[in-house]
């Protein structure tokens, strides 16, 4: 269970961006977060994955706080994969940074062996995004925060990415937090949906349809 209890966050000397956020996510569940730009969606995602430290409150996985060192049980997937990889490493090294994914999983994510010899700049955004998603799915990872990972993809590539992630999440009881502007996408994917506005979460719909 991924839980936050009265989580608050403000940047230095600023007004609080997020106030009193409490949410719970069970393993295998999908949670959607929507909101206008600047409402703090990405900040919330970074807090949940331990990329940022909350000003108040805490994030807990199964009752214990997020570890500060070692592998993070909550992985953050950023919008631009280009910024999340070392441009001097070949794709093979990037993909196997944390673990060595089996070939079946590489096929499920549509990653071709031939890409592994290339540098990230020689892959398209969609191809690199799939590499980054698979990289984050190492054993021991319990939750994934997907921050607008499919906005710059065409509909078919977008769909194939979500299908692969969904199949993997179902099999490994992975909890997924989807941050997106696209409410139609959230309706398709998520069990619970929240709308972030004015620093707090409002429920937009729960258990709309089983995804």
């Amino acid at each position: 269970m991924l839980e936050t209890h009265q989580l608050s966050f403000h940047f230095a000397a600023g007004t609080p961006l997020l106030a009193d956020i409490s949410l719970r996510l069970a393993p295998g569940e999908w949670l959607g977060i929507s909101g206008d730009s600047g409402s703090g969606k990405s900040t919330l995602g970074k807090l949940l994955s331990g990329q940022l430290t909350p000003s108040q409150g805490s994030v807990q996985v199964d009752g214990s706080p997020l570890p500060t060192r070692g592998r993070r049980p909550v992985q953050w997937l950023p919008q631009s994969p280009e910024l999340a990889v070392n441009p001097r490493w070949r794709v093979g090294k990037i993909l196997r940074e944390a673990w060595t994914p089996p070939d079946t999983l590489m096929a499920a994510f549509g990653i071709e062996n031939e890409w592994l010899k290339r540098f990230p700049s020689a892959l398209s955004g969609g191809e690199l995004q799939r590499v980054c998603v698979l990289r984050a799915l190492a054993p021991g990872v319990r939750y994934v925060v997907a921050d607008e990972i499919s906005t710059m993809l065409d509909p078919i590539t977008q769909l194939s990415l979500w299908q692969a992630l969904k199949a993997h999440a179902e099999h490994h009881q992975l909890g997924v937090i989807v941050i997106s502007h696209d409410t139609a996408l959230l309706n398709r994917l998520c069990h619970q949906q929240w709308h972030l506005a004015g620093g707090s979460l409002r429920i937009s719909s729960t258990a709309l349809k089983a995804p």
Binding site: E112, S124, T151, M152, D154, P155, I156, Q158, L159
Partner: protein, 273 residues
Amino acid sequence: MLTIDRLTLQLPYYPRWWRREWTTCIESLSLHLPPGEVHAVVGASGAGKSLLAYAIMGLLPQAARVAGELRFQGEDLTPARQRQLRGHQLALIPQSLNALDPLARSQHQVRWAAQRAGFGRSAAHQRADELLSRYQLSHASTHYPHELSGGMARRVLIAMAQVSNARLVIADEPSVGLDPNQRDRVLAALKAIALEGKAVMLITHDLRHALTIADRVSVIRQGQALETAPAQAFQGQGEQLMSCYARDLWQALPDNAFSTHPFHPTHQEPALA
């Protein structure tokens, strides 16, 4: 206004130091853009959409090999004519916001574009102010690019493209990275340009939002135009679409089926009649 007839484009690459080979980026692509129309060019990344824009503007790298015909207002679009018309009759709204001069205020960016297009000093000032207010940028006219939001920077680029009264405006991924509000404003601005009787080519991967303003849609895959359909053909199950790929693209949207037969990069398109 613009006719593209069997355009083929090849770019060089170097597998070894002294060996040059050619990769075909656009293959036998034909399109026709009449005035007053928004024509969306939709495809995955790497399909050759941006290269198509560069080919029309004459901004391809020198080494590129181009075959086929480009005609603008009935006359051949030769490199010399492209150079002459660029910024006057042909305008490109580039994909990257880096195209703005980082050291210039937005009003100067637009004024300079007007002066490059041949307006006199005072006329350029007047025209720039007029366009900035039309795109709700009056309050941001003294801002530098780093002080603008993504949507505002995009609208400055649109104002720059429009200042010259260009007959053909090509917008390369204008809605990427914008929130829904900003995106709708940018798309509305493009539609308004078409309603003035100009031709707009909207290059995007975002089929759903392209359909809100487009009159016709060309689907591009691996450098080939699979089909050009009226925007109304994208409805229901996509029965009115001819190519499998266009139908898949439509069905893959979250508002539609959000499922299609499993995607394989090697999935072959049946030959079109």
